[in-house]
Symmetry: D2
Subunit: 319 residues, 4 copies
């Protein structure tokens, strides 16, 4: 019976558990034996393999986080460590390793693939900043969390504070800020890909006020600005005294949205089907509404940055 | 200045307000004058036209329901009524009518188009049962509502009741039941497209228990069975005493999910862009991740039923 | 070292896990050894005792349901069974048994107390229908769940359906219906304690419409009417075609509200403090904002029915 | 017909709209004419009186914020301004002014009362920091918001970050931090009333880790520390790299919890009943589970600080 090992790596994201459950049950259904590796790549080195059964993945589908835990393990960039990991996987008779995570996690899988390991990668990070896919599991859930939070903040719009700054995650990309901005009707979105000087932000706020808007929401991507500095600058250069909310890890929590949960199920199914058909070392990319196997090399080259037209649309709709 | 009128028709759905806001602001940005028609097609007959401005659609993006209200108006199938509606629209100098709703609403738009009116239709219903599009605005929100509800019901899984029946909407289609079932990990899904005799349901429940599952959730599409009868049958023919939840209009409420809100924004943008380019009498279809203009005739023929493979996947994953 | 055993019994309620955690940690802090009994009174008979530590109750505070599971066990009304249970508890050197549950659970504790067992009861049921206390843990959470659900149903108020019926739990009492009705502004509340003929309901609906209300919500306590019959009657005797939602076990799920979680912590603290001071065989009653030990006999006699003035207030505020 | 004016003042809080609705409908039921004053005390000066009817307060019960808006107006501490306000109220034939807000708002009412105006104050602020009452409307909702947020942050507990800092509101008091800490099981709570040096926080974190806890949540009351400095200090003096979430105005938003909504209804009823019985110039205090009229002088003196025993209980339960 062929053996599959599953690990989750990097920052956790809603939907990781849904993927673990779906991979396990689909793989068992197809005749595989399934193991979970705890704490990502570190867990390989520490030989933390646990057998997974249909029952052991029961009840996790709607839980945030990951039952397999995750850990930072920068040492895995070292080729000796990779080699040792390969040897350990082979010693445990693991035929295929399935990695659930972001781009750092995929690079780990790529390294092991070069050594001869059969791997697959399921894209899973709230930041939606991976090559090779237009979408990563967890992003939709994070957007809903941000939209819900901004909705609550807008409730106090009748209060004396007229500008609210909300800092969101996204690492070096503005995906969360821009899409959440469209979804919640933010007046201004500050993303790293489209630098906007703070004096333009102030001018924009004043114009918004003149147009009769009672309230402005500014979404600040963590990669664009220090949100505390945005607050200070606006307070100093306008008559506004903005409130500040830093959503932080709130965005990583919660059970997966229906979209993320279903995508986790489908990608897991495709992943096992591909392995059965002899295809491996692929990222499961989500492109134009379809799940496609993308080679790791292609994934590195295939970039899906934020779309200019989303930015333009947001500015039209916030008028 | 060209004039646009917007109406919402049929059952309301989360995202209708987001579409009204986006259509209004985009149209005004492009130089149109915009009016809302209250209470759907009935409102045309009663000449309930209200001017819409950037400010009058402020603050509605995250609200459920529709600020333009909606109404049943079966009389609109009558050609004389359609003609009168056409005349009224012309008397008010309306150049384009944008209809937000489901298939009944699209048929109304088709009728007016035949009389010479320039129309567009934005697909918006929680049931996802329209021709010409793989997706209707509101469906994602409804799925999230169902998943959240089932999650709460599962919380009581340690209680003595071991089977929970949850009735969901969907009219004659099983889209909500099947997709929500995948998303929440339901054990059994009863949809009209795949009739399952109740004695098979009972057999399945017993097998599930033998496999060691402590709890089973059965999602019943309203088009498949009377959920009360499912409950009675199971109680009579097994040792289980199922609990029953009928979600009803709960599924229509709430603010739109990020996905629905963003899609409403993008479809609205495309809608106005198409009108400006001289294309009209189209449904905005969502196909393979892209928004495409679909002629009403084509939309009638292009059906997207529930997918067999989703059904199979669900049964594998519920093992 | 004295030994405490904890069990949860009857229908589960949000806050049971919070109480298990607080009892365990407080008791260990005071030098007790703590055991959990699985599946309520049945678990005593089956000797399902598991040791509880500070770590084993970690992470459960916000979870719905009960980690100790619960079960129906009507056989416990039999004196022989009670005696056997007493013997088993003594054989396991249990000094005190703490029961978390509703009135049926308290009766079990009373029986064991009569045999000489030292017991305590923490009131925990969503129905708020116990003697000896004005409040039971879980009730506040259930109210918030109902209010949230009704809020979503109201969102569709612009739709053509003008009357929504929502069936809520409460067993033979109207606590949930009446308090949730006040909290969400229901137009009509049907509770077993104040029978209202259905023709009065119809008359009331018509008057409401005349007063200009666009929408009416009717909360039906499960103990008052079959909600399906209320729907049929209204449809037959008025022009309204009500929608129906049956919340069912949705009301039992979800993590505990802040109020329920804090009360669980405080009652647990008081419970252990009382045992240390030699007081036992008491219900922890919540009376006039304070936690008070109530003897089981007193609890049987001390009834807190729904308040007439709440009913009057609701009818004034729904005008 | 006697005239009542209602205003909301200071920071808004969930439940303000529920109080406006209940006051209006109860007062109209009792034969009063009711007006709303927009933007708090500023609105008196600007004579922004709007008539309120049963219909105009429809549909607001579950909405956050306040339909009457609120504003800062420090000039109202000036006696000349108070006198002018008094004259304006009299010119509009206002018999009674009902103020909904926190302690600053009550001081405004006290000033007008000294000039001869008949007033009442409904306590409404999320901070729960008013004299004369153990509870202010909005506090329970804010607690639930914080508990929900911390629950999501805990979901990521399997991630590599082991310490999460969450900054909450509360002005100079630690009510929100302490009660939310009890409700969500926070490991450490930093409140202004019990200063804890940061090196003690670090020591506590290390001990927690040694006890086997995988994750620690620190709630920081805004009045106790700058949360960014707490983060920096811990990062510098331990091996932990804490995540930071600043909830900000998120805590003010959302519809009122059932508890807040019901209390708003009851306090409103009592308020109008008292005015009808000739009692005025009172704060509606919530003391030991009962609503009591408290004279403004008494309210100034009657302080309900955070309870030492809650702090002790939290530290026992976080073990």
């Amino acid at each position: 019976m062929r053996r599959i090992a599953i690990l989750t790596s990097g920052g956790d994201a809603p939907g990781m558990n849904a993927a673990i459950r779906a991979l396990t049950r689909k793989a068992i259904h197809e005749g595989f034996e399934v193991f979970g590796v705890e704490r990502g790549y570190l867990g390989i080195m520490e030989e933390q393999f646990i057998p997974l059964s249909n029952r052991s993945v029961g009840g996790i589908i709607t839980q945030g986080g990951t039952m397999l835990k995750t850990a930072r393990f920068p040492e895995f960039q070292n080729e000796d460590v990779q080699k040792k990991a390969y040897d350990i996987l082979k010693a445990h008779s693991i035929d295929h390793l399935i990695v659930i995570g972001g781009d750092g996690s995929m690079r780990g899988a790529t390294s092991l693939a070069k050594l001869g390991m059969s791997t697959m990668t399921i894209p899973c990070t709230i930041d939606n900043d991976m090559g090779g896919t237009q979408y990563t599991i967890g992003f939709d859930t994070a957007l809903n969390t941000v939209v819900d939070a901004v909705g609550r903040i807008r409730d106090t719009s009748n209060s004396h504070e007229r500008v609210a700054i909300v800092e969101v995650m996204g690492r070096k990309a503005g995906h969360i800020a821009l899409k959440a901005g469209l979804a919640c009707g933010a007046e201004i979105v500050l993303v790293p890909e489209k630098p906007m000087p703070l004096h333009d932000v102030c001018r924009h706020l004043k114009e918004t006020q003149i147009r009769g808007k009672e309230y402005s929401v500014i979404l600040v991507a963590e990669g664009a600005y220090n949100s505390g500095e945005v607050k200070s600058y606006i307070k100093e250069h306008t008559e506004f005294d903005p409130s500040l909310t830093v959503l932080g890890y709130l965005q990583r929590g919660g059970g997966p949205s229906a979209f993320d949960s279903i995508l986790a199920a489908r990608m897991s199914e495709t992943c096992i089907d591909l392995l059965m058909n002899g295809t491996d070392n692929r990222l499961l990319g989500y492109i134009d509404g379809h799940i496609r196997p993308i080679s790791y090399q292609e994934a590195e080259l295939l970039d899906f940055p934020i779309q200019e037209k989303d930015y333009t649309l947001l500015s039209i709709l916030s008028s």
